[in-house]
Symmetry: C2
Subunit: 360 residues, 2 copies
């Protein structure tokens, strides 16, 4: 099979971790007889440095011409980097928001998994983490407060800022369908999170989700208020299978959930549209403080590449092989420094990539 | 001194816990030579049952005529209670939002404290909770998404819902001042939480907070993105002193923080306006499942009454006495069932109230 992949190395540790993910993908291609055609685009700070803006039209076109995008991370230190002297809509993060919108990537899948071998890193007490957990946050990614109208005005000398949270039923329906579809293949439970006791958009969210649920009699639907969900993630994360929620709540809850696993360096994500196209990136950030030191953990990016093989290319066997390789190196005791613990063998970013590629 | 207090027993366990808090207040009055004049008003479901609406004009007037309001909790089971068949703006919670707005209670103070005696209930690993933590969430309470314009319309047969997040600089400034004022009396650190990489309202928030910070050179200000804050609360809650944030973020983060303590039945809150007036209520809900069973934990309400003594009446000595009584009963091993653990003595709601009153 011919795989057309656009890479966004990005900023900070991005180029290093994308490099290791490519190493693993190349090994997969070799073993399973595929051919990968890579293109590279600039985004975020890397694009600002060259083009003055965080994402160019051409970059978007290049991404569109591919089957999938593999991204590292973007952004720098917000207090010291010159990128953050620019107006907000020209900063590195604006590139990420722009590509999500341009490619219509409305469905953001963020698994939060407690790996048995890394259970010690979980910040929760052993009684709570003992049985592990494995949830998937399905976050709406192209609507809500992120993309509603916003303005800052001065009225009688008083500054006033407005953001708008808008959802129409079609935007809610398509993400709900994605959520139920994936729950059907998992433990068959959807927790839809909203603030229906306050927001109109949440009340519409709730009723559309209930309409969609009717087509999935085998999936259990429960509604949870966002404040309660923030509590339940800490109290009993094992209760969740698929969490379905809007953009801003999903931003907050998915980060909370990833920290609850204790090993954010292991967490992949996928952002999908209505076709097989997807953008795949680690859940963690660009970690500018450790960039270029060859100590970053490439596993989240490698696992994002595995999600790409599964969702965009339907290469389940290959995806399984990558995930198995990750489990294998963990079992063998290899750790990058972010997940290092006593008795394990510390390896660099490139060594981890080599170990993973060898095990494919 | 003459204390005019309006009580809102409310729904669920509300009447029981307010009863015990009054018991403690009465003992304080007796010991320290004060006179308390109570009035009662209905709010939430209790008001719907009598008046058909969750809050009447007269109730608001009664509250306004008092020095402070002591509230239990409002709301019922959202799936079984007839209150939730009403349109959203007539449900129990609408009464709470209405009184916050009517009394201009823009500053919501929610302490999240790990009590040494209850450290075992903390869901975090001992390495993280060992040194305890004691933070205060200062949540803006009368602006943002909660009170912006909202509407649901149908356009070409497509339902579309809109909520609006608005802040002007005055709303931000007054809550920031409250935050810095209280930080000055604590560990002198303010963490202002926003989503300035996306929202205009957050960018205005950040600049006004920075302006206010100039008047408090002794207080350290740091900015944190809301998604990162949701992570940090789990990773290292001890890093926080005062968290200053807008309404919706404050709703989510304060609930997360309260669960991180593991003993939400212990957490008080105060909602203040620009005068000494305040509404005091426990951070927890109405727990309809255990209502009327005399097993609720009245401590959060008792500690809310202590906050009232301190903030509205400037009775620091009396507030100290109430807080000392709480520490004392915990030390003596008395526990309501929600915080019960091996080797402790289980007591009912009324017994806990008696024990606390005796120790004043
Ligand atoms: C960088 C930022 C704009 C982005 C978001 O808020 O969506 C990030 O936090 C994420 O979750 O991917
Ligand atoms: C009941 C609800 C409207 C309320 C809120 O969201 O403010 C509650 O969650 C709270 O935090 O006091």
């Amino acid at each position: 099979m011919e795989l057309k992949i656009t890479c966004i190395p990005g900023d900070g540790i991005g180029p290093e971790i994308v490099g290791e993910a490519r190493k693993v993908l190349d090994k997969v291609a070799k073993c399973y007889g595929h051919r990968i055609q890579y293109t590279n685009i600039l985004m975020g700070g890397a694009s600002i440095d060259v083009h003055g803006i965080p994402l160019t039209e051409e970059a978007v076109e290049t991404a569109k011409a591919a089957d999938a995008v593999l991204m590292g991370s973007i952004g720098g230190d917000t207090t010291t980097s010159p990128w953050y002297k620019l107006p907000p809509n020209q900063r590195p993060e604006a590139g990420l928001l722009a590509i999500r919108k341009a490619l219509n990537l409305f469905a953001n899948l963020r698994p939060a998994i407690l790996y048995e071998e890394l259970a010690k890193a979980c910040p929760l007490r052993e009684e709570i983490s003992a049985h592990g957990f494995d949830m998937l946050i399905m976050r709406e990614l192209t609507g809500g407060l992120y993309f509603g109208e916003r303005k800052t005005i001065e009225e009688n000398g008083i500054r006033k800022a407005t953001d708008t949270l808008v959802y129409d039923e079609n935007e809610i329906r398509r993400i709900a369908i994605k959520g139920f579809d994936i729950a059907k293949k998992r433990r068959k439970k959807v927790t839809s999170v909203d603030k229906a006791n306050v927001l109109d958009s949440s009340r519409l969210w709730r009723s559309v989700v209930e309409e969609v649920a009717k087509d999935y009699p085998e999936v259990t639907l429960e509604h949870m208020l966002v404040d309660n969900c923030a509590m339940q993630l800490v109290k009993d994360p094992a209760q969740f299978d698929v969490i379905l929620t809007e953009n801003m709540f999903g931003d907050i809850l998915s980060d909370e959930a990833s920290m609850v696993t204790g090993s954010i360096g292991m967490l992949a994500s996928a952002s999908l549209n209505d076709t097989k196209f997807g953008l795949y990136e680690p859940s963690h950030g660009s970690a500018p403080d450790i960039a270029g030191k060859n100590i970053a953990n490439p596993i989240a990016t490698v696992l994002s590449a595995a999600m790409m093989l599964r969702f965009t290319f339907d290469l389940d066997k290959e995806a399984d092989a990558v995930e198995a390789a990750v489990k294998q190196v963990l079992k063998e005791g290899y750790r990058t420094s972010d997940i290092m613990s006593e008795g394990c063998k510390k390896v660099s970013c490139t060594q981890m990539g080599d170990l993973l590629a060898e095990r494919i």
